[in-house]
Symmetry: C2
Subunit: 260 residues, 2 copies
């Protein structure tokens, strides 16, 4: 399995699912083989890729609690090169049921180490809006974390909490976990707050902030209702172009790191 | 204590905090005494009312886990008639710590029944974006639930989960819990999806949907950065007027119910 990247932020509605789906599809469009893991009980990544939650024979709940193998639950999406480990509402119960399980933070990590299916160049994990055992499982299993940050005051306020959680995970559970970067989402440059947030974030976090910014773009909100990534819904849209650029920047940041 | 109303939806970023703060302030502006309970570890309602989370001497965490009394943690906001039970990041640990506690779903309910402080006409509870033990505590302690629904496809998808949870809470924990209503938020009527969602919701839920709709309005996103409700930030704005109207409609719906 290639680099495992969690898309996380406990603040709700900041573009985690939209980024997980469209970044994954953009990487697949660049001919990488990508696996998207839906770890949110809402199952928005699953629906957003057109998968019927009632027809799946296995889900990420089974991975964490029923000893299912990753190769048993992975299914194809309609988008070439992109596979998904789907989620459904059963995952809501996982939080309480995991408490009693030994090594409960390592369940997802272990399912990756025991994986013997086809290789993937990238694994992207869509996290729920909480710093709970599901998100902790994702962070413990990941190489990198991508934080999606909505350009709003309340979202900026939550940054200290997610960064504190990363510090704790790195100390106790996963020393090689690094920050992949911070991606600004739903940015409407006509809005004073958005400009202010972008400026503050770039001053404070510097090169950790992606140059690419995702604009507020109605095509991104429409695409999930058709069950397709925005690349299929409207590839010329500002939203689609921004995610293609984000994927290219992610790959370029990796190469720059390796050469450093 | 007057009617206890939870503002809930497991979908993130759908206006729960914005509604909790501005509905509470609007009811206070109508000369009702209002208590706002922040039950989200992000503490956005606490910050949105200008309270410094580091300076509070008690929080809703202490209510659920340290046997503190409600009257010990309630503090004044700058807005006349509006008090708040603040939250801080300690609440993140409450989920896991509550599991071992007997009658863990009843902690908030019990703190309301043991309350002997000044009377309130309304209690509003701001819930986190999850169907976890914090939200279950809120629903078990409530008379009514207000569901804020963002006019977007992914948010509509999540309605079945929250309605299923309400059914279960009503059966097992709180038989008198009723749906106060569904409030459409962040509605941009120029956007095709928003019109479609509004039409579908009104067809399906009928009179349970508030006539008042909250428009997307930048003043609502600005107000928390000044630590005040939008009524104080810009009372003439479309956002402020919509929440004043929502408060009036809530009171009117109550009166209509009582006469029925
Ligand atoms: N750049 C954008 N422009 C316009 N709409 C967007 C954009 N990004 C996301 N959206 C819409 O905003 C809403 C929230 O986005 P999304 O569901 O991806 O956030 P999330 O962080 O995954 O939410 P949750 O915390 O509930 O998991 C969705 O309805 C989505 O379609
Ligand atoms: N009607 C509106 N117009 C414009 N911006 C809004 C509106 N309502 C909320 N917002 C902004 O959208 C963001 C999400 O709203 P809010 O934080 O109230 O949602 P929430 O459901 O409480 O989120 P969470 O799930 O993280 O608790 C915030 O930045 C808020 O300021
Ligand atoms: Mg999501
Ligand atoms: Mg909130």
């Amino acid at each position: 399995l290639g680099p495992i990247i969690s898309v996380a932020n406990q603040k709700g509605g900041v573009g985690k699912t939209t980024t997980s789906i469209n970044l994954s599809a953009s990487l697949a469009a660049m001919d990488y083989r990508v696996l998207l893991i839906d770890l949110d009980p809402q199952g928005n990544s699953t629906t957003g890729l057109g998968v019927d939650k009632k027809k799946i024979h296995g889900s990420t709940y089974d991975l964490l609690l029923n000893e299912s193998k990753l190769e048993e639950i992975i299914i194809c999406s309609d988008f070439e090169g992109l596979m998904i480990a789907p989620a459904n509402v059963e995952l809501t119960a996982a939080e309480i049921e995991l408490i009693k399980v030994p090594k409960r933070e390592w369940r997802l990590h272990n399912s990756f180490t025991e994986y013997h299916g086809e290789p993937f160049d990238y694994v992207i994990i869509d996290c729920p809006p909480a710093l709970n055992l599901l998100t902790i499982n994702a962070l413990t299993a990941s190489d990198r974390v991508l934080i999606t940050l909505q350009a709003e005051f309340l979202a900026l306020e939550g940054m200290s909490q997610i960064l504190e959680t990363l510090r704790r995970i790195r100390n106790k559970l996963n020393p090689q976990l690094t920050l992949d970067g911070i991606l600004l989402t739903m940015v409407d440059r006509r809005n004073r707050i958005a400009l202010q947030v972008e400026q503050e974030v770039r001053e404070y976090f510097g090169a950790q902030v992606y140059q690419t910014v995702i604009p507020r773009n109605v095509r991104l909100a429409e695409a999930p209702s058709f069950g397709v990534p925005v690349l299929k819904h409207d590839v010329r849209s500002a939203g689609a172009q921004a995610y293609l650029q984000t994927a290219a920047e992610m790959v370029q940041r990796e190469t720059a790191l390796q050469e450093a």
